[in-house]
Symmetry: C2
Subunit: 201 residues, 2 copies
DNA sequence: AAACCGATTGACTGGTCAGTCAGCCAGTGG
DNA sequence: CCACTGGCTGACTGACCAGTCAATCGGTTT
């Protein structure tokens, strides 16, 4: 049959997508592999056909999306825009990632990025690369005189990223309204807060 | 004997302190209750004499310190200082908490604050109260004209808190140097970033 | 000195799961 | 039409561990 190879690929994807939903709903630690299989409408054993372990499923989900983030940051950096516009692009990408798939972003933030003890530990190098790339944008901005130089670029990078991630956390845990307009505004607001500051100019 | 009641209290404390160390080292999920007992130099069963469950140990650790943070924020708010100085006081308190007991702060951030799925869920109301109290400081600052009004105070609060917590995360996972001077500078730098912004004035 | 009582001990149990594996089934090639 | 292959199945197992509990200990009271 023409579709003889297709189902195989589908099933793997099906499992990953199901895992996103289940991890988002119950958290990684309290999902059983059986939950993923059930959600995917697939036999228990098939999960182990495609993945070495339950951990590997999460690793795959993280790496898939984080590499996009890294690419987006590095692309923003390479562009000819102002440092501020570069930061705005990064914030925009992260917010759009959330809009596009809130459950996946929830899993990534809750189970990896903010869980540097368990999974984050494994991915610390990749996570760090994001921080470093943002720091580079800031450092360049300091070089060009667009940003003040008395705030360490690594420090500024952490503040910027922390501010965004905290917004996402607020949405994820429904501490903060997350309508379409809220998300859209957040893109500019984070950058405005970090670049202009809270005090009037 | 005069010290007849004292050991009882000691043991409870001993267990809590041991739990801080073990949770910080291995993470909550991969510590066995036996690890806590061993670290405390106490029999397994005694943990259950003082605490209903393993979870309750963590809850206790969190609540103990978080209530201090809430008190500190609210006290800062009540003071006559400028809004900016109030924020600086909050940042200072959090940084000092880290300096005073990095392991405890690690546990609180990694296992509770940033794990709103598992433990955070239980403590969401308390956590939210911190965000709200900070938002109030910002809102008052907007009222008095010290802060601009086009950035929502709840949003600013999340950015501020997120920026600090991200710094702590950097220290915790050794992504960022954490010498005494670094910690000291961080207090002012967070506030400077958020209040003044990265762009030169 | 005997009864009492809270602190302390640690062996044991019941339940939970991640991961294995022996085999099934559908499509393909000979 | 049969052998083969690889996606697919799900019952099973071995390990692990939170929480229980019966027993002991040491100090206090009567």
């Amino acid at each position: 049959m023409a579709s003889s190879k297709a189902p195989a690929i589908d099933k793997r994807r099906q499992i990953l997508d199901a895992a996103i939903r289940v991890f988002a709903r119950q958290g990684f630690h309290s999902t059983r592999v059986a939950d993923i299989a059930d959600e995917a409408g697939v036999a228990y054993g098939l999960v182990y056909h495609y993945f070495k372990s339950k951990d590997e499923v999460l690793n795959e989900l993280f790496s898939e999306r984080w590499s996009l983030l890294l690419a987006a940051i590095e692309e923003a950096d390479r562009s000819a825009a102002t440092p501020r516009a570069k930061l705005e692009a990064v914030a925009g990408f992260i917010v759009d990632s959330y809009r596009h798939d809130p459950e996946l972003m929830k899993v990534i933030i809750v189970e990896v990025t903010r869980a540097a003890n368990s999974f984050g530990r494994t991915h610390l190098p990749e996570i760090r690369r994001a921080y470093d790339s943002i720091a580079k944008i800031v450092a360049d901005g300091q070089q060009s005189g667009d940003f003040r130089r008395d705030i360490d670029s690594a420090f500024a990078s952490m503040s910027f990223y922390g501010a965004i991630e905290q917004q996402l956390s607020g949405w994820i845990f429904e501490l903060t309204p997350a309508s379409d307009t809220d998300l859209e505004q957040a893109k500019t607001l984070v950058t405005a807060t970090i670049c202009d500051g809270l005090e009037p100019r």
